[in-house]
Amino acid sequence: MIKLRTWLASTNGRIFGAFLIAAALHLAGTLMIPGYSSPFAIRAMLVIASLLAVASIGQTLVVILGGIDLSIPFIIGFANVVAAQLYGDGWNFIVVCLLVSLMALAIGAFNGFVSRRLDIHPLIVTLGVGMVVQGCVLLWTAGFPSGSAPAAVSAFVSIGGSAGPLPVPWLVPSLVVLATLIILIMARSPYGRRLYALGSNPGAAPLALIDPVRMWTITFALSAFFAAVAGVLLLGFTGSAYGDVGQPYLFQTIAAVVVGGAALVGGRGNYLGTIAGVLVLTEINTLLIGLGFQPAAVQAALGLIIVALVSLYGRERHVRSTI
């Protein structure tokens, strides 16, 4: 019995629990709402979940490091608007993606470098930088973003699309491949091992030959990169540019990561858990909307459920057990 409890409390236990909850929610939805498990509905959920999953890659890495990235929603908006605008102006889309990626990497690197080098809480740095980025983008488009997405991107994320024989758009299998890659890198690469170690005990890291500034710079750069990817994908999803398209992702990425079993103090969690968290959040959202809740009520219910889930298996230790 004790072994079960310790396993449940461990990261793997939490991830398993999260997947179970997602499955239970889906079952509940299927029973309560007609059409909940219709092929279209499932495809739609997979697409929405995939978008959140991409945006949450960065947050996962950053949280394991012991930090947090509040610039993700702003970078999503930035990538979304800049890509649309430039493509609409006639630029080659590959060049646009390259440019947006490089800029995102630079912004993220700045976030990580400044936070770690000067020992400033990343919450503040990423928040400030995010605001600057959003403001600059709004200034550049004078508040009226224009442009569009190339047909290829729209097809990539379109709910009605299909990837060869699979009845899902290419986004979904691509995400599966990406997820496998991320999980592999986190578990079995020098970068991944150092990431966990640094999050686990920042004081011991330099003596173990881990360069904290370098790790933070790289990790935050990656976070911004994947946020930009999400921004471009969202452009394909909605069809037009919108600077605030990333706003919901501010707290949803944090919620997904935490529901997936990561600890905000660092050193714990993995991307598989985040995916479970993403599924749980998507299920809750779809379920509540399907049950006829108003958006306001959905938001409130989401808050309650996140708190309930985290209190089940995301509890921190009492001070006395940290001595």
Binding site: S189, R193, A197, G199, N201, A204, A208, L209
Partner: protein, 247 residues
């Protein structure tokens, strides 16, 4: 394979207005550092490790006739000097990580093939040290916090030795470690010294220094108060030097 390096501390001043000290740590020596808490022995060790810049003076490493000045921790490690910190909880172990992870973290590149770590290789390296240091860890994949303090310290020592150092700087290595493990560690240290590795051991227990070290440097007020070896090295003389009184 351990190659012979000599560490020279030249005109080292550890605090403003302190007396400069000169010391040479030779291959195969076990030098002890003693003193009342906070009297500079730790600072001296950190300077040797490149973790602290001295107020004046420098530390030079000599290998095969070539001399290098130690200016940083990274430089020291690259040149074969490895440091084992004092407080394993604060600056040693990574509590959420497994025993294997904790062992391999400093040498994580050694197991990498095309960017991916070979867990088998890591396990193999770990097994070598497990045997040598008698590490008692029935489940190496479990978090390191499941091990006793003594075994945790052995894993940290294994981590240091995995770097294949030529000189080992140890900051109170048997602190919080049970008696049986201590003796295992002493044997390991002596074995390393026999292989030609130089060791500098800071210890807060005089008996340990007497048992383990060839000579001892006693610090008082961030200066070298006394240096003793052989028969002159007794509990009384060391304590007297620690308190600033000649025996």
């Amino acid at each position: 394979m351990v190659s012979a390096i000599t560490l020279h501390a030249r005109n080292l001043v550890l605090r403003p207005g302190g007396q400069p000290l000169n010391q040479t740590i030779r291959p195969g020596e076990i030098v002890g550092l003693a003193g009342l808490d906070g009297h500079g022995q730790e600072r001296f060790l950190e300077v040797l490790a490149g973790l602290h810049t001295p107020h004046a003076g420098e530390v030079r490493l000599e290998r095969g006739g070539q001399q290098t000045v130690i200016t940083s921790f990274r430089r020291a490690v690259d040149n074969g000097i490895t440091y084992l910190p004092r407080d394993r909880r604060a600056t040693g172990i990574f509590p959420t990580q497994s025993v294997l992870d904790n062992f391999a973290i400093s040498t994580v590149g050694k197991d990498a093939r095309f960017g991916i770590l070979s867990f088998r290789n890591r396990r193999k390296r770990y097994e070598g040290f497990r045997e040598r240091l008698s590490i008692n860890a029935p489940r190496p994949d479990a978090p390191i916090t499941t091990l006793s303090g003594g075994n945790q310290q052995k894993v940290l020592l294994a981590r240091a030795l995995a770097l294949e150092p030529d000189m080992l700087l140890l900051n109170d290595p048997t602190r919080g470690v049970d008696v049986a493990t201590r003796h295992v560690l002493y044997d390991v240290f002596r074995g390393l010294a026999r292989e030609g590795m130089g060791l500098v051991v800071l210890s807060s227990e005089i008996e340990e220094i007497l048992v383990l070290c060839n000579r001892v440097l006693v610090f008082r007020d961030f200066e070298l108060a006394a240096e003793m070896s052989g028969d002159a090295m007794t509990t009384e003389t060391v304590i007297a030097a620690m308190f600033g009184r000649a025996a």
